[in-house]
């Protein structure tokens, strides 16, 4: 109990560091989440481009085509020369020019002549407008072949266009196709958890493992086993505090959204696994670091290295396959893998649930293995 009390007392001395990390972490997570929310893609809208039309025909069919294009794009009449057009296209004031020739209906709709267009080569906008004009021409030909008059055919094609099917985005995440808002908080969480636990544990253990203090404790009437249990209890309390903070943050910031998330139990389990893994890493770090001056360096290498490799700061989607393969040997990778599934799926399928459970299991195995390494280092240090 005495050693445990000492551990807690020393941990409280690091409180400022803990608060600093929490503040920085929350700020970054919220800023990133808000910036991504502004770019939301939960609604669908057809792209509208500046399209110019040079009408040399002026007939009903030409009017029909202009009206059709006008429903989708921002259509302007063009009467300028080629140089002016090139300039407008260079500055993207115009993306596409349609030249409707004289005798348009007889020549083009009858298939004798092609519609002359000028477009920006190799752009999607060119293909986009191409396909729309082709579709209009196809439908007009079909209508005229069916015996409709030109004006009637134009009206029918326009009607068919305006009655185009509505587009509904697939919303697997339950947040309009976007990842859950709290997903970002959980994505960055490993950095905060690892940093707090590694720094905290390292500074505390340096104090306890200082040779003079260690010897002083050995000559005290507190049995060695009780001392070690006291330290272990201290570690667990430190982990529990970080676990609580990790879950209080999303509850505070996202309230209902997070609490009503169907994956809440999995999020909690994932954070628990992360805290256990981080505790084991912190234990190894605290066993390896002897002097306070080296803590910063070692903890930075461990936390930043692991976070960069495992998709905490940079999404795993943009990482090379080789990096991903290497990251799979690190526990935080599996935390992020689980978090990725949870943030994109409002309800899990059986196979996704299996993946999540595998990820959690692997994290626990990592925790046990790393803790074992820590014990071995500790034993080596004591006999050294």
């Amino acid at each position: 109990m005495t050693v445990f009390r000492g551990f807690i007392k020393l941990a409280l001395r690091q409180l400022h560091m803990l608060l600093l990390y929490v503040a920085v972490f929350v700020t970054i997570a919220v800023i990133v989440q808000l910036s991504l929310r502004e770019e939301g893609t939960d609604t669908f809208e057809m792209t509208s481009l500046p399209v110019a039309v040079e009408d040399r025909d002026g007939g009903a069919a030409a009017e029909g085509l202009k009206e059709y294009l006008g429903q989708i794009h921002r259509v302007t009449e063009w009467e300028g020369d080629l140089t002016g057009l090139q300039e407008k296209m260079f500055y993207r004031d115009i993306y596409y020019l349609v030249r409707i020739p004289e005798n348009f209906e007889a020549a083009c709709l009858a298939g004798q002549e092609k519609l002359e267009v000028t477009k920006i080569p190799g752009t999607t906008s060119a293909y986009y407008v191409d396909s729309q004009i082709s579709a209009w021409l196809r439908e007009m030909k079909a209508m005229l072949a069916a015996g409709y008059g030109t004006q009637e055919a134009c009206a029918l094609v326009l009607q068919a266009q305006s009655g185009a099917g509505s587009v509904r985005m697939l919303d697997e995440s339950g947040y309009g196709g976007e990842p859950a808002p709290h997903a970002f908080l959980f994505q960055y969480l490993p950095y905060m958890v690892l940093s707090i636990l590694c720094y905290g544990a390292a500074f505390i253990m340096i104090a306890f493992r200082r040779e003079e203090v260690r010897r002083r404790l050995l000559v005290s009437p507190v049995p060695r086993l009780r001392q070690n249990l006291g330290l272990m209890a201290g570690y667990l309390v430190l982990g529990a505090v970080v676990w609580v903070i990790s879950l209080i943050l999303p509850v505070t910031l996202y309230r209902g959204d997070f609490l009503s998330d169907g994956n809440l139990p999995y999020y909690m389990a994932n954070v628990t696994a992360l805290v256990l893994v981080s505790l084991s890493i912190a234990y190894v770090v605290s066993m390896c670091v002897k002097r306070a001056e080296t803590v910063n360096g070692v903890v930075n290498v461990v936390t930043l290295g692991m976070c960069f490799l495992c998709g905490v700061f940079v999404s795993m989607d943009v990482m090379a396959a080789g990096v991903k393969r290497a990251a799979a040997f690190l526990p935080v990778y599996w935390y992020e893998a689980v978090n990725g599934i949870l943030s994109e799926q409002a309800s899990l399928t059986a196979s996704q649930r299996t993946e999540v459970l595998q990820g959690l299991g692997l994290q626990l195995l990592f925790a046990a293995a790393i803790f074992g390494v820590g014990m071995a280092v500790s034993r080596y240090r004591e006999t050294d």
């Binding site: 203090v213 010897r215 002083r216 000559v219 005290s220 009437p221």
Partner: protein, 321 residues
């Protein structure tokens, strides 16, 4: 029945590879003593203390403390022992008060009692004005005092102090030595190791001289001085002496050596009476004017020198000390 012998070490042998650190060491320390272990650096004092505290295993022999064999799990004995390590053993992250309270809490669970003991330890070591300071902010002397406060706050029956005054300023050293005497008066038995003979001579009731892992002599300071043939050292301020005159002094009965430098005659005598009067009579006869005269009884350094043929501290250390 209260045991009279608190610590009993018999035939203790400790080796570090080929080096014999403790060579069949025998010690017996009685309740109420301030027992001094005097010896040069590397003589085996700290090794003996570490074995006594069960911090180190040993190859042969036995150690009994409070009548029980001392083992790493002798927690009841450890509860009655206070330890002041050679190197300061405190938490740099805790304040002076927190450190004393923490180390006291290893022995005393009751908060109220502990608060009282901590207050006493603070007063005892004179740290009242530094309670909220962190160890890094303390001077070397204050740090040593804190080290002592942490070791004695729980009022142990037996206190082991391993060179507690190393690198301490004279003022703090006197404070510490006076404190040790007070602790002894309050009933604690103290084992005090040092290579500073003046300290040991000043506070210890019984002294063992150690070298190369062996106890060379044990006794009170008077007993130790009586063991050797060397007597007093007489110093006389003269106006200057010729080599012949110094040689005549050297030939006087009871004189071991004589030396005159810059008008100061230093004469080392054998044990016995009449050395001083014989010397002064001789100076008067030779018409050598002299001023101040003083006589110093033999020191423990003389004892050590005679027993081992070497000085307790080398000259550089002595100058620093």
């Amino acid at each position: 029945m209260e045991e009279k012998t608190i610590v009993s070490i018999h035939n203790l042998v400790k080796r570090y590879g080929d080096v014999l650190a403790l060579d069949h060491l025998d010690l017996e320390i009685k309740r109420g003593e301030i027992y001094g272990l005097l010896g040069p650096n590397g003589s085996g004092k700290t090794t003996a203390i570490n074995c006594l505290l069960a911090l180190l295993g040993y190859d042969k022999g036995s150690i009994r403390v409070f009548g029980e064999n001392m083992e790493p799990d002798s927690y009841e004995s450890k509860r009655r022992i206070g330890v002041v390590m050679q190197n300061v053993a405190v938490f740099e992250e805790l304040t002076v008060r927190e450190n004393i309270d923490y180390f006291c809490s290893l022995y005393v669970k009751d908060k109220k009692r502990r608060r009282q003991l901590v207050e006493e330890a603070v007063r005892f070591t004179g740290l009242e004005d530094h309670l909220k300071k962190y160890p890094k902010k303390l001077s070397g002397g204050l740090l040593r005092r804190l080290n002592i406060a942490c070791g004695i706050a729980h009022r142990p029956e037996l206190i082991l102090m391993d060179e507690p005054t190393v690198a301490v300023d004279p003022q703090s050293r006197n404070h510490i030595l006076e404190g040790i005497k007070k602790l002894n008066e309050q009933g604690s038995t103290i084992i005090y190791t040092s290579h500073y003979m003046e300290e040991v001579e000043k506070i210890c009731t019984r002294i063992s001289i150690m070298d190369r892992g062996r106890i060379l002599a044990t006794g009170t300071k008077e007993e130790l001085k009586a063991m050797i043939g060397t007597g007093e050292t007489i110093t006389v301020e003269t106006g200057g002496m010729t080599g012949e005159q110094v040689e005549e002094v050297r030939l006087l009965p009871g004189v071991v050596s004589a030396d005159c430098q810059e008008g100061v005659l230093r004469v080392q005598c054998t044990q016995g009476a009449g050395n001083l009067t014989g010397l002064l009579h001789r100076l008067e006869e030779a018409d050598i004017p002299f001023g101040r005269v003083w006589s110093q009884p033999p020191t423990l350094n003389d004892v050590f020198l005679e027993i081992t043929g070497k000085r307790l501290r080398d000259r550089k250390e002595e100058e620093e000390g």
